[in-house]
Homo-oligomer: 225 residues x 4
């Protein structure tokens, strides 16, 4: 069984559909129940579970429900795509938008990863954390977005050290810009016509999420072009 967060649009939705098409049971999570339901219509293998990951109780309830719904099937993969963007020169950014950005990207990731480690650290769970190339370098006009993404990277690289020798693994994914609904909602207007589509990124990511008996793909950067 697979859990995908941030699955109501973009890369999360594209991945969910691909895995469902291959016969996987996929729990899809997001905050917007209507949009989640829309995505779920694509396949009977898609199961919507609305949740607010910025709230620790929301995370616990999500994982409780998932355990109930699974009918005993093990959770083997979590793909954490949830997140949002906010851009602009720092002098023009708004405090409340910065707060939301940190909640949506950093708090949600910390609370989800914490709860998964508590429950699954001794099982062979593959936790895939989707960040951005903004986690790998500073960018003018993206200072708080870089802050959020660097935070998640520093966090999961540290948790990895804590999981050393355990069967649970964290896979880090850094996609470049995609042509999704992410941009309009972030307030940044740019021509994304040459960007890869969410489905292209999903196709590449799915191919790259490989593991064998003694190893696994641990870090993946997906570049435009």
């Amino acid at each position: 069984m697979i859990l995908i967060t941030g699955a109501s649009s973009g890369l999360g939705a594209a991945l969910a559909k691909r895995y469902a098409d291959q016969g996987e049971q996929v729990m899809i999570s997001g905050r917007n129940q209507a949009r989640l339901a829309g995505v779920a219509q694509a396949s009977t293998n898609l199961h919507p579970l609305a949740a607010d990951l910025c709230d620790e109780q929301g995370v616990a309830t999500l994982l409780d429900t998932l355990a109930t719904m699974s009918g005993g099937a093990a959770l083997d993969t979590v793909i954490h795509c949830a997140g949002s963007g906010y851009f602009g020169p720092i002098a023009e950014q708004q405090a409340d938008e910065i707060h939301k950005l940190m909640q949506n990207n950093v708090t949600s990731s910390i609370l989800l990863v914490r709860e998964l480690v508590k429950r699954y650290q001794d099982t062979p769970l593959h936790l895939v954390v989707v960040m951005s190339t903004a986690a790998q370098q500073p960018k003018a006009g993206e200072s708080t977005y870089c802050a959020a993404k660097w935070a998640v990277r520093g966090f999961i690289e540290s948790v990895r050290l804590e999981l050393k020798g355990k069967p649970m693994k964290i896979i880090a994914v850094y996609p470049g810009g995609m042509d999704t609904g992410f941009w309009p909602s972030s307030g940044k207007s740019l021509d994304t016509s040459s960007f890869m589509s969410a489905d292209e990124a999903a196709e590449m990511l799915q191919g790259a999420l490989k593991a064998t008996a003694h190893g696994h793909i641990a870090d993946i950067t997906i570049a435009r072009g």
Copy 2:
């Protein structure tokens, strides 16, 4: 004129005293008015200004007051030492403590830097941001602390790109562990007797904060040992 945040203890207090002893006018900021007043007793050159940097109005008021008090003297240096620690395996960390950690380190830094950029980007202000070696690498048992410090690093490295060609400069400081009140308050118990004292770190940092007509020391790591 110099502004030092987080000046009620540790490295901030040690730096404040050193600069005051050299005849500089030093505004010292912190949340705890009583402790700030205690530090200020060391010299008539120390001027306490209580402020909550996690609140955007608190930051604005601090800088307004400082402009008023300066009597026209230019603010040439800001040393941002404010911050707090929180440690432990991720499975044992508490959501409310994680929230406080992010507020005290990330939100405060973003709001302060944002306001300083707005007001001072066209002046030769040196903004010194004190982080930690936890901003440079992942550490087991420090996952959320690393998250916070990586966030600040990604943030200021991005803002630097926005300030390119401007007279305002950001200096990044990464100190290793110091023997200060930081540890007891962070909940981490360890033997810090071989750590450098706050005053040793202050002495080294003060020596390293150098600039000439065409250059400046931009990044400084202070190591133990």
Copy 3:
């Protein structure tokens, strides 16, 4: 058509066999003609081409021959696996072994990449450069090996900037330790029984080397465990 360097053993040989089994025409290169011939016996799709990549004429001749042999088929992928290891505390390392290490890893990579850029920068060539996790962090006992691998990483990340907007792409691969003949020949004795085999790494890498119309997997870390 695919060219694989360092294909006389280890990951290079394993990749060569996998691609040949899938019907690809694979040119395999290495310095040891006898071992190359041994690898080539596995499939009629494997074509040995002995070459010394540390010599600029050797590189040019290899690519000339390859162009001749291809019968007009385009070279679409180069997987550069050639390299060697040398380990130990720096105080005990020998100057001539350090020289060989730099030649085998840095010089060969620079000369090969330079020649490929000259000839193929305007074609959709995917150049996969296999390094090591030693390119991503410092390691005690591996100082000169890290030097060599960091060099290659700094080099290809710079060349990528020069290729921006061109169809030729560089893919960076960082595998952790594998259970191959690499270790005995490096002079380092360690128990590699829990390491991934070369064939496991080859299987994962092959799966991860994905590209679509507007994007490609650009960086891949393959971890043990």
Copy 4:
């Protein structure tokens, strides 16, 4: 007693003069005997010692001579400035120039550091290794120069791990571009009139090379502007 390599010009020469002016005994090393002698004329505290650091015997002889000349005075600081530049798009770079670049920057650093570790690892020697901001990021048009500088960085960061707990310390210095004879000799023509002078960089670096009983400044980036 201080040893400065690459002291016949640029930052090395500027540092040598500053330390000599302060009364320090400074051994200055370089390959060009005539230029070294010219630098030495500035002060009776400057002692020229021609040496080729790319040759292991040259390094050993330099350190033997230095031990003899010191009259028992301990070597407390080594500032390794030796190095050279070579630039241009990779497709236009020449193999023999690349070889020289690697020798002058990587081989020399490895051989010098190796010999210093052998002889001085149990003494409180401060070994300052001057690299470049090209060691911290990739740069178009500087691919092999970045290769060389990344190599030195990966090397010294690894050796630091081997020296953990020892009194010998390695300090890493990353200066941005300076207005020195480096550029004309590197084949790169650019307007360096707004760059910092070697003497400015020397002044800042000297101020930043601080240590106290329990700590030391370990990494220093010197930026233009």
